[in-house]
């Protein structure tokens, strides 16, 4: 039975159900229990934004607070995944990858290939991504392209609670290392979410709105901005199709190409910085595979090539807006 659930609660439920189903699933990270060893309440925080709250009471020591040692505990999660566990390690903010990136891109991502196909590394690394929280340059980035560049990693970024639950369960059951990106601005957003366990497969985009005039491709928070833009444009008689990529590696370019073959126009939206972004990747792929279908040059709407600023006035300008997306679509419609 489905009920309305926030993305935060959907993620909690996915972890809960997988820990109940599979005793080899463990969850570790900084403050994911919160209060370990402190004089007050155990499970005081349940994660810095409360995503794992309540799981300690049900699953006990299979949830482990870690010291502030990202290299050590992300590496331990990676190592444990080659030894019979399915760890879910929380990196809190994806920006912290800088501290432990070696364990992700030189170790987890490469074991299978380097060892001639003899290793499996079923580790999931959860982390918050995205701007809008006035958290400035080191807690707000959309670093997805850095991970999609690396062969061996899978990269997931849901836009809603339903997908978050299904994609997280898929990530945990998946036998490859997965970077699971949670947009903090979407934690409170609600959709219908079935109570029972289910998976959303990787590499299958979701057409969240059908339209015949232009294709808007995005993921995470940008899907919502695209929807706002599409509403506005519908009032102008422009019908947009929105493709929510859901997973960025593997990436469903077939659905994007198919959509562009119908609409003839493409706007790629990405909260990441523009160079070598997911948007640039999609624009290049479509230009190569569906050039003859294009009626106008593909457009990219991305964050600028700057760090994320602190001042609310600047941060609001940094994040791609519905207006900017609508303008980009209008540009593709110009004769």
């Amino acid at each position: 039975m489905a009920r309305n659930l926030s993305m935060k609660d959907a993620i909690n439920e996915a972890l809960d159900q997988e820990m109940s189903r599979d005793p080899t699933v463990i969850v570790m990270g900084e403050d994911i229990v919160g209060g370990s060893g402190s004089p007050g309440e155990d499970d005081a925080w349940g994660g810095v934004l409360g995503v794992t709250k309540g799981l300690y009471a049900k699953h006990g020591d299979r949830l482990m607070d870690t010291p502030l040692s990202e290299s050590a505990y992300i590496g331990a999660a990676v190592g444990a995944s080659t030894c019979g566990l399915r760890p879910v390690a929380e990196l809190m903010f994806l920006d912290f990858m800088g501290v432990c990136f070696d364990q992700i891109f030189n170790q987890a991502a490469k074991f299978r290939y380097m060892f001639g196909g003899k290793a499996e590394t079923p580790v999931t690394i959860r982390a918050m991504v995205g701007a809008g929280f006035r958290a400035a340059a080191q807690h707000s980035q959309m670093l997805t392209p850095l991970f999609t560049h690396i062969p061996g990693l899978k990269v997931v970024c849901p836009s809603n609670a339903y997908d978050a639950k299904g994609l997280l369960i898929q990530s945990i059951r998946d036998n490859d290392p997965v970077i699971f990106c949670e947009h903090k601005a979407l934690y409170a957003s609600e959709t219908d979410v079935p109570e029972e366990s289910y998976t959303v497969p990787f590499g299958e985009a979701n057409i969240v709105r059908e339209g015949s005039d232009a294709t808007i491709v995005g993921y995470g928070l940008m899907v919502h901005r695209a929807s706002e833009a599409a509403e506005t444009l519908a009032g102008e008689g422009i019908q947009c199709e929105i493709v929510d990529l859901r997973t960025l590696s593997p990436i469903d370019t077939d659905s994007v190409v198919e959509s562009v073959e119908n609409t003839g126009r493409l706007v790629c939206v990405d909260e990441a910085n523009p160079r070598c972004s997911i948007a640039a990747d999609i624009a290049a792929t479509v230009s190569q595979q569906a050039f003859s279908s294009l009626k106008a040059a593909p457009q990219m709407v991305t964050a600028p090539h700057t760090p994320v600023p602190f001042s609310p006035a600047l941060e609001d300008l940094y994040i791609p807006s519905a207006e900017a997306i609508a303008d980009a679509v209008r540009k593709t419609m110009a004769p």
Binding site: T24, I26, R62, M64, T66, P67, S69, S71, A72, Y73, I74, G75, A76, A77, V78, G79, A80, S81, T82, C83, G84, L85, P87, D102, Q103, N106, Q107, F111, R112, Y113, M114, F115, G116, G117, K118, A119, E120, P151, G152, K154, D174, N175, D176, G203, P250
Partner: protein
């Protein structure tokens, strides 16, 4: 033959010698063949350090996991990785332990508990902590063990892992192989304390120093820290002071070494010579028995090289496989 004064039976002594000799001759052969230009890439040789890998890993079984270093051939052989597959890997052939995709620095055999040599210095410590965590969580008696050189023991990953293993009371042993040189840089220059074992106290774990050229000293010290880990006593740090017979990598001119240093080490600090002298002088093993092992090992290595040279190279179809389990 006299009574056995050693902590191992004669069969085990012969086995230890066989392992050490296999490592030595494997590396000596690579030194020659690399010099002839027959080996692609580059290799880091373990010769001179055999007593450490052998004396420590003899206490382990396949359930115990080790994370090795860039200088990993000795750990692989001691952990039971097939030398034919190792040689095939070093030659980049399909018969290699990693089908030619990893090379010398990435030889792994998870079925033997060998989690991989590693091209990133210090990266193995967190991974081995993961193995120790898995053993603890799954409730088996296996342990995790990481090897780091004196150089990589200055990495944050190593120090963070000591703390993590200590607070989680993991069944873990941190082996520091101190051969005096981080690549070309002396340990006296690069490390602020006189001994790595002293650092263990800073993490609340036991630190032990042992003469890494003395197989028996290593065997005894390793037995103690491994037993402690296996019985739930938590992690330890074991520092082996040892010598590296070759350069950091093959082709290293080693001008940073002292005059006559290598010759002195070969003469006075050769763990194989020391082992042979100990067991024969005690009258427990006959020199002829060791000579027989020498011949056997040389033949096995000749065979491994011949097979590696003859084995097929990977083809275009192999380039893009084994990236993911499923994509």
């Amino acid at each position: 033959m006299n009574d056995n004064v050693f902590p191992l039976g004669k069969e085990e002594l012969l086995k230890a010698y066989h392992t050490m000799k296999t490592i030595r001759e494997f590396e000596e052969r690579l030194h020659v063949d690399f010099g002839r230009g027959e080996i692609p890439g580059f290799v880091h040789l373990y010769a001179g350090e055999e007593a450490a890998a052998t004396g420590i890993i003899m206490h382990l079984d396949d359930q115990d996991r080790i994370a090795s270093t860039h200088r990993g051939h000795g750990h692989c052989i001691a952990k039971g990785v097939d030398i034919g597959e190792m040689m095939g890997e070093i030659y980049g052939k399909t018969t290699g332990a990693c089908r030619g995709k990893g090379g010398s620095m990435h030889i792994a055999d998870l079925s033997k508990g060998m989690m991989g040599a590693n091209g990133i210095l210090g990266a193995g410590s967190p991974l081995a902590c993961g193995a120790a965590l898995a053993a603890k969580t799954l409730g088996h008696k296996g342990i995790g063990m990481s090897f780091t050189g004196d150089g990589a023991s200055n990495q944050g990953t190593f120090l963070e892992s000591l703390n993590l293993a200590a607070i989680w009371n993991l069944p873990m042993v941190f082996v520091v192989e101190n051969n005096g040189y981080a690549e070309s840089t002396s340990v006296d220059y690069a490390t602020a304390v006189d001994s790595y074992a002293d650092r263990a106290a800073g993490f609340g774990v036991p630190g032990v120093i042992v003469d890494g050229t003395d197989f028996f000293a290593v065997y005894e010290a390793a037995g103690e820290v491994i037993r402690r880990a296996r019985e739930g006593g938590g992690p330890s740090l074991l520092e082996c002071k040892m010598v590296r017979f070759f350069g950091h990598f093959e082709g290293d001119a080693q001008t940073y070494r002292g005059e006559g240093e290598n010759e002195y080490n070969r003469e006075n600090n050769d763990c194989l010579k020391l082992f042979r002298a100990r067991v024969t002088e005690a009258g427990v093993v006959d020199g002829g028995e060791l000579d027989a092992i020498d011949s056997e090992v040389l033949a096995a290595i000749d065979k491994a090289v011949e097979e590696a040279v003859a084995a097929p190279l990977p083809g275009a179809a192999d380039l893009t496989t084994d990236v993911y389990v499923k994509y």
